[in-house]
Amino acid sequence: MAYSDKVLDHYENPRNVGSFDKNDPNVGTGMVGAPACGDVMKLQIKVSDGGKIEDAKFKTYGCGSAIASSSLVTEWLKGKTLDQASEIKNSAIAEELALPPVKIHCSVLAEDAIKAAVADLKEKKK
């Protein structure tokens, strides 16, 4: 698989790897994918009292482009409001990483992970 330099960079130096306490009221957790399909992404966002995402972390089981997609979105999420975060589209991720067509589903999964993390946080804040 010939990957772009950006995918390789994120794969070799993944940003923001790790976990927050999922019971923290300011942390939203999104876990998407399935082991049987070969990829599982866990994305966590931590919001400030002002409602902005101040930190994001991920762990991903999956191919190089799945790891790169989730690493990239942790960078993008920081400083965004929840509404801005929800607007991140898979096509932007795929374009930034120059994903080959067979790997587009990795960017879809990253978008789903953002949505799931935001939904989890909103549920907690209700």
Binding site: D5, P35, A36, G38, Y61, C63, G64, L109, D112
Partner: protein, 407 residues
């Protein structure tokens, strides 16, 4: 994109193909340039020289498997041999019946040839092996039908390296007058084959899995009792009408020399490779949550197929660029399906995804093996730090019981 000079990784993919042994290459070269004659040319020394070389190679191939040279038919490789055997024999003997037995873990060249027979109106049974990859003899007997015309079972599996009990299966076929074909592409030079004793009717061989060139193979067709096959390639009537087409003299010479070397050196070579396999196995199983795919005892020493749980195969392959291996992961295949062989063993999709096939051979050194072990230990650790599944496993969560949203 920058173009850098690529440093080649350590080769651990001998089951995919092997390098041509330099002794083999040396033998082949004169037959490309000087002795270029067509072995079918009967009217001049160019043809005679080529024919002599082809017949000498035929003897060498026959010797490795203790067959009569007249039982060896040249083909373009094991895929063609498998097709010729399966289609040729079941068509020739179709009056006996139209049922074929094979295994779910066969090479695609067998599976798809059998599928083609299905299209032509044959019924088929794809036997599922035991979890260790081996055929259960009783289940094999139970699968036989009065109209079974052909059974085709591989000797050594290409993915997991397990060795089937061909003698026992062949005896059952003999008792039931069923033609028995064996794909031995991965077996030559690795396990002893004695076709004078083995109850096998047709056997497929490949040169490039045994340090010969790509593009040449052979099919063994038994003479006593005589087995007949319908030709699949029609033309000048070469190979006694069973396979037409000008013989590729240099390729055939290469296969002969490769099989000669295999016969003379396999005992010593296998002892050395067995030690390397044990070293690799001991080193890699020091890593937590590793699973060996396929039986460890009934297995060629050249193969180790291991699943590293909670790590995805393609990302692992990317991480271990210093070695050339293959994976059962979906992401490394064109079909996006995990290995059908590992699935047939009952391995979960996750374990199939995280499997790596290490296949070692003639030029693998102890240093290569040690490097591989160190590399795997380091990279598996790194990828598990990244893996949410590993984290869940460490927390004691049963991943099997989690309800995943399939996508």
């Amino acid at each position: 994109m920058k173009i850098e000079k690529m440093t080649m990784p350590i080769y651990m993919d001998y089951s995919a193909t092997t390098p041509v042994d330099p002794r083999v290459a040396e033998k082949m070269i004169p037959f490309i340039t000087e002795d270029f004659g067509n072995p079918a040319s009967r009217s001049h020394p160019y043809g005679w020289t080529a024919e002599k070389a082809v017949e000498n190679a035929r003897k060498e191939v026959a010797k490795l498997v203790n067959a009569d040279p007249r039982e060896i038919i040249w083909t373009s490789g094991a895929t063609e041999s498998n097709n010729l055997a399966i289609k040729g024999a079941s068509n020739f003997y179709s009056s006996k019946g139209k049922h074929i037995i094979t295994m779910a873990t066969e090479h695609k060249a067998v599976i798809d040839a059998v599928r083609e027979m299905e299209r032509l109106g044959y019924e088929t049974t794809f036997m599922v092996p035991e979890p260790n990859g081996l055929v259960d003899i009783e289940k094999f007997k139970a699968a036989l039908r009065p109209d079974t015309v052909l059974a085709t079972i591989m000797l050594v599996n290409n993915e997991i390296g397990v060795v089937q009990d061909i003698e026992e299966l062949g005896n059952i076929c003999r008792e039931n007058k069923i033609i028995f074909h064996v794909d031995a592409a991965q077996a030559t030079g690795k396990v002893a084959i004695d076709l004078e004793k083995l109850p096998v009717d047709l056997m497929s061989f490949s040169a490039h899995k045994t340090y010969g060139p790509k593009g040449v193979g052979a099919l063994y067709v038994r003479r006593k009792p005589r087995i007949r096959i319908e030709a699949q390639m029609h033309g000048g009537g070469h190979e006694r009408g069973m396979r037409s087409g000008t013989l590729a003299t240099h390729q055939i010479v290469g296969m002969g020399e490769a099989f000669r070397i295999a016969r003379e050196e396999m005992q010593e070579e296998n002892a050395r490779i067995e030690k390397l396999q044990k070293r690799l196995l001991d080193g890699l199983t020091e890593i937590d949550e590793t699973y060996i795919n396929g039986d460890l005892d009934k297995r060629v020493p050249h193969n180790l197929n291991i699943s590293f749980n909670y790590v995805e195969g393609e990302s692992l392959i990317m991480a271990i660029k210093g070695i050339a291996v293959s994976s059962g992961s979906a992401c490394t295949s064109a079909s996006l399906e995990p290995s059908y062989v590992l699935r047939a063993l009952g391995r979960s999709d996750e374990l199939a995804h995280s499997s790596i096939r290490f296949s070692i051979g003639r030029f693998t050194t102890e240093k290569d093996v040690d490097y591989t072990i160190e590399l795997l230990k380091e990279k598996i650790g790194k990828l598990r730090e990244l893996s949410p599944l590993w984290e869940m496993f460490q927390e004691g969560i049963d991943i099997e019981k989690v309800e995943w949203a399939a996508h």
